[in-house]
Amino acid sequence: MSRPTFLLDGQPVAFDDGQMILDAARAAGRYIPHLCWHPDFPPHGSCKLCVVKVAGRHVSACATPARAGAEVESDTPEINAERRTLLQLLFVEGNHFCPACEKSGNCQLQAMAYDLEMTTPRFRHFYPDRPVDASHPEVLLDFNRCIYCELCVRASREQDGKSVFALTGRGIHKHLVVNAESGRLADTDFSAADKAADICPVGVILKKRVGFAVPIGERTYDRAPLHELAMPKTEGKG
């Protein structure tokens, strides 16, 4: 018996029972933008970049089960405009200065902004005051660029078994902290070999003293756009 299908932007996508829209689309080679979603973890639903329109409602594709016959709108002017607005909000909430950022070219937030043709920050910058944590000998934490995807929190807890990171505060006061009495990374059992050390999609968790060793222009998203590199066949090559 053939698998059930739903329509993604008018094209049929087959899915398995219980599969989320984003998972099914990826398996069928169809890209839906996402920042906090990661194949190693359950859906998180916080960044909302995977927003799609199903039966008139705007839902997170990573956390909405596919249903047979559903009509899902993703790559449309309306939905992409909503994603751009979400990106514009992320860019002004933190301190994202791409021109002097060592993650430039390897950053998913920046690559997503290029992909979705975001041309200005639009909203007023918050300019939050977030000192860096340079206490660890191998890894620098630059909280200025955090987008609260919790990938480091989840990787440290579920893959490294350490719980080095956590989000604290609520609403606009939410922020990333280090789980130590002192609040310093050096006072945890964090290691540069941890899964959490390599998972940050933006420029918060950085290997020290590397910086601009790889020239701008030869970096991950300089070679190919995010919507290609984020798909299963190329994932991990960057």
Partner: protein
């Protein structure tokens, strides 16, 4: 968030920009002329009221970010800041000396920067004043006017700048704000295709640079009374020179030559600059006034930049530029030249030198292959000194064990020339101010004197217009006698 633009049709591409009263005067040269009881100009003050505060941005940031971040200080000479920072941080990572490849790539980048910046300064910014006269109408006195009246000169000027930018792009990765110099070395080689493309044009650039020197010499010969005296203020001259006395714009030791030509201080190691120089503060300007410490503020101020470098070195190590240096030194009575307009002549000699250096370096195999990075024992601090297009540039960093910059100090070329620029403005005002009202002619002359040292006060706003300038005249009791504001 405010919602006033949220009804626009295409609101996602709109950006809110707040213009407060301070940002509206950004880029204006502000000058106060102080009169004595007899109504003569007693003092001229060039106020630098823009506070850049870059040192504060950098403190607390990781050191490897600094060469990329600090170059945002300037859109005309970012390469100089990029390289001065990298040179300073080479000491921090123990990479002294850097590899041959890193040294040559950086030098090539730097001489590309000298070439493009000097071409911009002379052809785009200064040549309209010199070719059409200080009082020519503003509609003509700009680079578009030069293109119309002197197409060959303009074409070569634009071409020289373009070539310099291509050298920068090939070495730094981008024409502006590249990222190639990193603490300890360089992150790329020169691509053979880029090298070949540059080599194909290198001889033409040398020839055009020679023509540019000849043009300045013609201008001097045509009106020596103006070129030799306008705004002239004798002073000491400071620059880096190579150990053998040669001109070297990338590295060397500090030399100070007195106004009469005697070498006053020589072979001063650049990392001792803090003992050598003291920066005085005056309440009416954010820009400090450096002087040679043991000579005191009255006798110890100096000029930097092309005029200092061409007269401070014993020789220029490329033949065409050296011949022009000799002609420059033999000009007039053979003494040192101190007139601001002589800066442009010296500037073109340096541009010729840069063109020769680039042409001679390009075939070097170390550029296209070889080890790029060096490393050694860590140090807590580093000083990087380089001769930027407009003069000696000093970067100094202290870096903590946690890799964050604890403290930094930047002394830029314009700061070294602060006293000289103030005195040049006074000189011009004394000559041309009638004691009562400010005229357009005087504003033009003040503008020309400032621009001979530095185009950066007005930065990009002047490229196709006139320098925004505010001049105020105050009498001996401090009352405002006249004030004239000219917008961009």
């Amino acid at each position: 968030m405010s919602d006033e633009l949220e009804t626009a049709a295409n609101r996602q591409s709109l950006r809110r920009v707040a213009i407060d009263p301070i940002s509206r005067v950004e880029g204006h040269g502000k000058v106060t002329l102080l009169l004595d009881d007899a109504g003569q100009v007693h003092e001229a003050r060039l106020h630098i009221v823009e506070f850049r505060g870059f040192e504060a941005f950098i403190e607390g940031r990781p050191y490897w970010e600094v060469p990329v971040m600090v170059q945002r200080l300037c859109g005309i000479c970012p390469v100089s800041h990029h390289l001065a920072a990298a040179k300073a941080l080479d000491y921090v990572v123990g990479a002294v000396p850097v590899t041959a490849t890193a040294d040559k790539m950086r030098r090539l980048m730097h001489y590309g920067q000298i070439l493009q910046s000097h071409a911009l300064h002379f052809f785009h910014l200064a040549s309209p004043d010199l070719l059409f006269g200080f009082d020519a109408p503003v509609v003509q006195r700009n680079i578009a006017g030069v293109i119309a009246a002197h197409p060959d000169i303009a074409r070569q000027g634009v071409g020289l700048r373009r070539f310099g930018q291509q050298v920068i792009a090939a070495t730094a990765g981008k024409r502006i704000h590249g990222t190639a110099a990193v603490p300890g070395g360089i992150n790329r080689h020169l691509a053979p295709a880029d090298r070949d493309a540059l080599r194909a044009e290198a001889d033409t650039m040398v020839a055009w640079s020679q023509a540019a020197v000849a043009l300045v010499r013609r201008l001097h010969a045509a009106d020596p009374a103006l070129y030799d005296r306008f705004g002239a203020v004798p002073s000491s001259l400071m620059s880096l020179v190579r150990a053998d006395g040669a001109m070297d714009l990338y590295d060397g030791q500090l030399r100070l030559r007195g106004a009469d030509g005697t070498v006053l201080r020589d072979a001063v190691p650049s990392h001792t600059y803090m003992d050598f120089i003291t920066e005085a503060v005056k309440p009416w300007s954010y820009m400090k006034f450096p002087y040679v410490t043991d000579m005191g503020p009255e006798a110890g101020w100096y000029k930097v930049g092309p005029l200092a470098r061409v007269q401070n070195c014993d020789f220029i190590p490329t033949p065409l530029a050296e011949a022009e240096r000799r002609a420059f030194r033999a000009y007039g009575d053979g003494g040192l030249q101190h007139a601001p307009l002589a800066y442009h002549w010296a500037r073109m000699i340096e541009m010729l030198h840069a063109a020769e250096v680039i042409r001679d370096m390009l075939p070097d195999p170390d550029l296209t292959s070889g080890e790029r990075m060096a490393a050694g024992p860590r140090a807590a601090a580093g000083v990087g000194v380089i001769e930027a297009p407009r003069g000696t540039l000093i970067h100094h960093y202290w870096v903590g064990d946690d890799d964050l910059v604890r403290w930094c100090n930047l002394i830029v070329s314009t700061t070294h020339n602060n006293e000289a620029m103030n005195r040049a403005v006074r000189q011009v005002a004394r000559q041309d101010f009638n004691g009562k009202t400010l005229t357009d002619g005087l504003l033009n002359r003040i503008e020309v004197a400032i621009r001979a040292y530095d185009p950066c006060l007005s930065c990009a706003t002047h490229a196709l217009g006139k320098m925004p300038l505010v001049v105020t005249v105050r009498d001996a009791r401090g009352a405002c006698v006249d004030r004239r504001v000219r917008g961009a």
